[in-house]
Subunit: 247 residues, 2 copies
């Protein structure tokens, strides 16, 4: 692809991020503004555990499609980042730590009890997308990481400032992501810019990113619906001990 087309693709991807990334979602805005209760943040952490736990499954699914050892070697770092090289060191271990510090038992979280069905549906749709679509689309669907530093910076500082039950130790998951996400995003962006050679392929890359922003957005929709308004918590879903605002 020529330089112009590559630059134009990157511009279109950044525009999708501007318009559709979940830092624009009302649930995130409430979190950022210190307007969520502890119960609502518990529900967020519990549901997001399901997403976190499936990311290495998604990445292993992608690796299973790669014939080139070099590409698989690069991609496998994502799995290592989430699984860690030993117990508790990876992203999943740190997310479990956040859940424990919020009052959940580790076993309950890992048993995936009380997670919203809509969380499962969205996350599982992501894994299916990566398994079934073209490799170019599968890789492009990871490009939401381009926008991760933006939401992480906003989320961490706001949570530390505005929730008395949150401290830096709880949020250690996000520290490593601030360097991992841009590294991963740079690689995936370079890949799609190099491999999307036709306009049809460039549109497929954009659509894959839109799909992924939908996956993230739908998870916050489900949290908002179940725990904010109309707060119709579905049968079987986690019910916080103390509904309403707690700080």
């Amino acid at each position: 692809m020529n330089q112009d087309a590559a630059a134009d693709l990157e511009r279109r991807l950044r525009e999708i991020g501007e318009q559709r990334y979940h830092d624009k979602h009302p649930f995130h805005v409430l979190m950022r503004d210190g307007r969520l209760s502890k119960g609502q943040i518990q529900a967020w952490a519990l549901n997001r555990y399901y997403y976190q736990s499936r990311i290495p499954i998604k990445d292993s699914t992608l690796m299973a499609r790669l014939v080139d050892p070099e590409l698989r070697r690069v991609w496998s770092q994502r799995v290592v980042d989430h699984d860690g090289t030993r117990e508790g060191q990876g992203g999943i271990g740190k997310w479990l730590h956040l859940c424990e510090r919020l009052g959940f038992s580790r076993d309950d979280v890992m048993a995936e009890r009380g997670i919203l069905p809509a969380t499962r549906f969205a996350v599982d749709a992501y894994i299916n997308f990566v398994r079934e679509r073209s490799l170019l689309e599968a890789i492009a669907s990871s490009l939401t990481e381009m926008f991760a530093p933006r939401i992480i910076g906003e989320r961490v500082s706001a949570m530390l400032a505005r929730y008395d039950f949150v401290d830096a130790d709880m949020l250690s998951y996000f520290d490593a992501r601030l360097t991992q996400a841009p590294r991963d995003a740079d690689f995936a962006l370079g890949y799609v810019k190099e491999h999307a050679k036709t306009e049809e392929q460039r549109q497929a890359v954009c659509d894959a990113l839109i799909f992924k922003t939908d996956v993230l957005w739908a998870q916050l929709d489900a949290l908002y619906f179940a725990y904010v308004e109309p707060a119709l918590t579905p049968p079987g879903a986690y019910r916080p001990a103390s509904p309403g605002r707690s700080n």
Copy 2:
């Protein structure tokens, strides 16, 4: 499972290995006895590249089914062993080196040109098995590694002694496998002994190992048919420059 049932399962698995592992195959016997031509060994290395290249795909497929980060972390070492942590360091890189030393260009090997269709069918069946069967069966299908040190020891010493075009540098792939295979086999054997709790499950474990011995055996059948007797090399398959014995 009680100790007796676990010990009995291991005994049955070792018996399957005794009867069906591919060190009993006539093609391996010819190799061991120094009775293959260079062209026949080239065909073996070229075809086995396809198997080698798909092993991390098989293992990524298995990882994509694991929800437990700890189990995925253990299993991911297999992918690292084959892909390496940098270019040329892993098992695939070393197998490519063997192919290059045997006279192939690296690009031709990686392009998978001239590989026997039966090689592809057998290897792809292995990946499908790992994707579609129970996790217990998927893990059990790796248990041929229990018998790998036996064939490696025999193969390496025989090849060095009996083929003047073979030296230790070419066979460096097998050095690491002598420690990796038993480590992997111990883990998988422990897993199936712990998780096969019913006789039906123990039989499924045995059947998975039988399936895998078939996958390995079928690859040597195809080589024997195409390059030894009746030496009916299929259309599109690699044709050695110098047929017949060369040493």
